[in-house]
């Protein structure tokens, strides 16, 4: 029994692309008009993604939309969501909207900028909703191209170099992903790229499974990133424009994290269980290394970038713990890891936007050169301090419920490793407190007041994210109930 329903998933995905086409056709000569179109398209995407929520997310893949594409190869246009992908869809639409609002001051080639942003949004949404390996890969690669140009053209001093590193590094990762996908396809019976079939019936065993697992691992480890393949991240995050960094950290890193759950965990579960100890070790090193290196930074944007590495370490730790525990165990590790993706997206996205606002005013990112900002810009500083507290895991704010569950789940699998990784929390607490002390406390050294405190545009971009931090922190069940329904169903 099929009834014709509105393909909300496709509409959400391609609305931003439609915005691109409108800009292309209208060719607005004022940046203001361009941003209106861009913000309009991404607002509509937020609305339709809320519509998806209202329809009911459910525990297994649903709201499926399917069209023939390349039937000879078992490839089709398949879209759908479940409790793991939907929160990421919501995160993506919200973050892109706030990033575009924040960007509205950029007048340099505004048309191209907004078009690239919208293209990137379509690609990111497509990645999270695709239920076909081929389709997933197409969207996955398009994100690289879009981000490359955003970093290179609108970034800071060494942006071209950073963009090049980013592109080469992540292309290497995604080509390993392609091979892993082909391997999954070639072992499936009947041959298909349908992710539902591959999840329901993981096709690989033995050596092929191991190779495919490590292929996926390399791809997602570069994207997430994990130590030692994280070296593209600090440069890319630091050199990108503020909104670009927010998207890069908030959404693009989640592509890797999501991949760990969707592919490594769901399509090669046995291999993941077998190799979980290695992944655990790598993720503990990543979390501690990220925290320690962040501690050593004097550039505030670089510091935030390295805390991303630290948080992604926790996230992957949660997934690996879930894999090690196997099916039927407590789901808290995976619940936490999924929630961590969302909370990290919101918190770090916000931090990068605020760092951008800070840099606009002080003209520097060196923490040693700034002090007493709380007196000069109370609103900006206040918001930053809240976001920093969220990032270090203060209860009541977004990261706490996520990390708590990760460590809870991790403790039953690897108590010793959990003991080590918790040290990361201590270090991040220290580094944020130190940054707050040196940048925001004390007295301003010199009067810098060419600009006032946060203006309306910046407030529109940041306040919704602050609200999200409190909502997730105080009432995590809003998202956790969706996530948990799915994790319980898939058994991890």
């Amino acid at each position: 029994m099929e009834s014709i329903t509105l393909p909300l998933l496709s509409i959400t995905t391609f609305l931003p692309l439609l915005g691109t086409l409108v800009i292309l056709l209208v060719k607005p000569d004022k940046p203001r008009t361009t941003y209106r179109i861009g913000i309009g398209a991404s607002t509509l995407a937020v609305v339709t993604s809320l519509g998806i929520w209202l329809r009911g997310v459910g525990s297994s893949f649903n709201q499926i939309e399917q069209l023939e594409w390349i039937p000879s190869l078992g490839i089709a246009y398949r879209m759908g969501i479940d409790g793991i992908s939907f929160p990421l869809v919501l995160l993506t639409t919200v973050l892109f909207l706030t990033a575009l609002i924040y960007s509205a001051k950029i007048e340099k080639r505004a048309n191209s900028y907004v078009m690239l942003f919208l293209l990137l949004e379509t690609a990111c949404l497509g990645v999270f909703m695709a239920l076909d390996l081929f389709l997933f890969y197409v969207f996955f690669e398009v994100t690289l191209v879009g981000m490359y140009f955003i970093i290179a053209e609108w970034g800071h001093e060494n942006s071209k170099q950073a963009a090049l590193t980013f592109f080469l590094y992540t292309l290497l990762g995604s080509l390993f992903l392609l091979l892993a996908f082909l391997s999954l396809y070639l072992h499936s019976d009947p041959l298909t790229f349908d992710m539902r079939a591959l999840i329901a019936n993981p096709p690989l065993t033995g050596l092929a499974a191991a190779l495919t697992f490590w292929g996926l691992f390399v791809a997602f480890a570069i994207k997430t990133p994990l130590v030692p393949v994280h070296t593209w991240l600090p440069a890319a995050h630091t050199e990108a424009p503020a909104a670009g960094s927010a998207i890069l950290a908030g959404v693009l890193l989640k592509l890797g994290a999501y991949g760990f759950i969707r592919f490594s965990l769901q399509m090669t579960p046995d291999a993941f269980q077998q190799f979980a100890p290695y992944v655990i070790v790598i993720s503990v090193i990543t979390a501690l290394y990220g925290a320690l290196v962040a501690l050593a930074q004097t550039d505030i944007k670089r510091m935030v970038a390295y805390t991303s590495v630290n948080h992604m370490g926790y996230m992957v730790f949660g997934v690996a713990a879930a894999a090690a525990l196997g099916k039927g165990a407590e789901t808290s590790a995976l619940d936490g890891a999924t929630l961590q993706m969302i909370s990290h997206g919101v918190v770090t996205g916000l931090l990068f936007l605020l760092v951008g606002a800070l840099q606009d005013r002080t003209q520097t990112r060196e923490m040693t050169e700034i002090s007493g900002l709380l007196k000069t810009y109370p609103v900006l500083s206040g918001l930053f301090i809240v976001a920093a507290f969220a990032s270090l895991g203060l209860p009541g704010l977004a990261h706490f419920p996520a990390e708590f569950q990760i460590f809870l789940g991790g403790f039953s699998a690897y108590p010793v490793a959990t003991g080590f990784i918790i040290l990361g929390l201590l270090i991040t607490t220290g580094l944020y407190l130190r940054a707050i002390q040196s940048v925001f406390m004390g007295n301003p050294e010199k009067e810098i007041d060419s600009k006032g405190d946060l203006d309306a545009r910046e407030l529109w971009a940041t306040v919704p994210l602050i609200a999200a931090i409190f909502i997730i922190g105080i009432y995590p069940d809003l998202l956790l109930s969706i996530i948990h329904a799915t994790t319980e169903l898939i058994g991890f």
């Binding site: 390349i70 290179a152 080509l175 392609l178 091979l179 391997s183 190779l211």
Partner: protein, 445 residues
């Protein structure tokens, strides 16, 4: 037989040139090529042989007609923009068709002699085309092409006599016989590989490529990069189909050549400042990817699909890139700030180059996707891994063009309007580069 249409076209455009009507020669080419394409499309799906089993009409050879005939139209239009009103302009069109005929004869070879004949026809016509500019470098380039061609051709012919000697016939299908002396088969295959490697510019038989490309008119470089190469690779596939693996581990040999070609082409391209030379090295690398399909040809149907789709993709993206080079200039510095002068052409060039890297959803990705799939399915995981690492290097190569296009300041010279012929070609190939990627289904068996 579409090949007969091609032969008639060659003669027709030669006659038009002799009457002093280069325009007529061009139109003869366009109409003839469209006719050949039409015949080939109507025959797709038939598998048969002609000329007493010496010529195969199959999926590969029919698609070769379609790909290469349409490519030839694009190239002729480019050549018209570049060489209009030069002395003996019409001969170019006639030679293009003759050379195409050589390539087509190879792609359907069911007989050893057809491989040889095809390479020779294509080489002779190619030599004349390279020398068209009548400058010293053009003569040098043509000489290199000719001498390499005659030496490798002679070696190949010598080696192939062994095949004829042991199998007692010139049919390729007769090779598939386990009772043959393996030494003679190996010797024959290696010499054949030398001949084909020359035509397809595979390492280590590629040395003519950069010089010949640089010296030729840009449109002819575009032609050299596509027509003889696709012909040679398809011909190799026709031979490899019949070769028993037990006798000679030819997939390994081809795999090694593939890795060498990819790596050499991409790495050397990193240092080129002349775009035509850069693209010449890139075609050497692309030929390496192409070989992945030949390596797996006996194992799966995916390989045949991969050869055809990559052939289409390679032709459109390469011709497109050369068209932009013809419009912009052959030096890397000509591309400085191109995006500010001709934003659409800059987008076009970016799409062609990203397609060469293999970024989805473009044509080049569809081709590489199938090639990698064929290699993995055939059990050549190492080859697929080498190919993806090379794709990353190739991105660095192509970004050397993309970066100045967008991020450098343009030269102060006034912008010239693009010739309509070039515009026609780059826009058509641009649309095809995207359409082939999205409409992959139409090109599969």
């Amino acid at each position: 037989m579409p090949q007969i249409a091609v032969l008639l076209t060659a003669i027709g455009s030669l006659i038009a040139e002799m009457m002093g009507k280069p325009r007529g020669s061009l139109w003869t080419l366009i109409i003839g090529m469209l006719a050949a394409t039409g015949v080939a499309i109507s025959k797709i799906g038939t598998i048969t042989t002609a000329f007493s089993n010496t010529f195969r009409v199959d999926y590969l050879s029919l698609w070769a007609v379609i790909i290469l005939s349409i490519t030839n139209i694009f190239i002729a239009v480019l050549a018209r923009s570049e060489l209009k009103n030069t002395y003996r302009e019409g001969t170019v069109y006639s030679l293009l068709v003759f050379s195409l005929l050589g390539a087509l004869i190879m792609t359907g070879a069911g007989d050893i002699m057809f491989v040889v004949l095809g390479i020779l026809i294509s080489t002779l016509a190619g030599t004349a085309l390279i020398a068209y500019n009548k400058t010293d470098p053009a003569t040098e380039g043509a000489f290199k092409y000719y001498i390499y061609g005659s030496v490798t051709g002679a070696v190949m012919l010598f080696g192939l006599t062994f095949w004829v000697g042991i199998i007692g016939s010139t049919y390729l299908s007769a090779l598939n016989n386990p009772e043959l002396s393996s030494l003679a088969v190996i010797f024959g295959f290696i010499t054949l590989l030398i001949g084909i490697g020359y035509a397809g510019s595979l390492v280590p038989f590629h040395f003519w490529t950069p010089d010949a490309f640089e010296a030729s008119p840009v449109s002819i470089a575009a032609y050299l990069s596509v027509v003889p190469k696709v012909g040679a690779i398809f011909a190799l596939a026709q031979v490899a189909r019949e070769l028993p693996v037990e006798m000679l581990n030819w997939p390994l040999l081809l795999g090694v050549i593939a890795v060498l070609s990819m790596t050499f082409g991409n790495v050397v391209a990193l240092w080129q400042d002349n775009i035509v030379r850069l693209l010449a090295y890139s075609t050497i690398a692309q030929a390496g990817y192409f070989l992945l399909g030949v390596v797996a040809i006996q194992q799966n149907q995916l390989a045949v699909n991969a050869l055809v789709v990559f052939g289409i993709a390679y032709a459109v993206m390469n011709v497109g890139a050369f068209a932009i080079v013809q419009s912009c200039g052959t030096q890397l510095k000509d591309f400085n700030g191109w995006a500010k002068q001709k934003p659409w052409q800059a987008v076009g060039m970016t799409i062609f180059l990203l397609s060469l890297v293999g970024v989805p959803p473009l044509a080049g990705f569809a081709g590489k996707f199938l090639l990698f799939g064929a290699a993995l399915d055939g059990g050549y995981t190492w080859l697929a891994v080498a190919a993806i690492i090379n794709s990353v290097i190739s991105l660095a190569v192509y970004l050397r063009i993309i970066v100045p296009t967008y991020f450098n300041e343009p030269k102060p010279e006034p912008i010239q309007s693009t010739k309509p012929g070039i515009r026609l070609v780059w826009i058509s190939t641009f649309v095809l580069t995207i359409a082939v990627g999205l409409g992959l289904q139409w090109f599969l068996v």
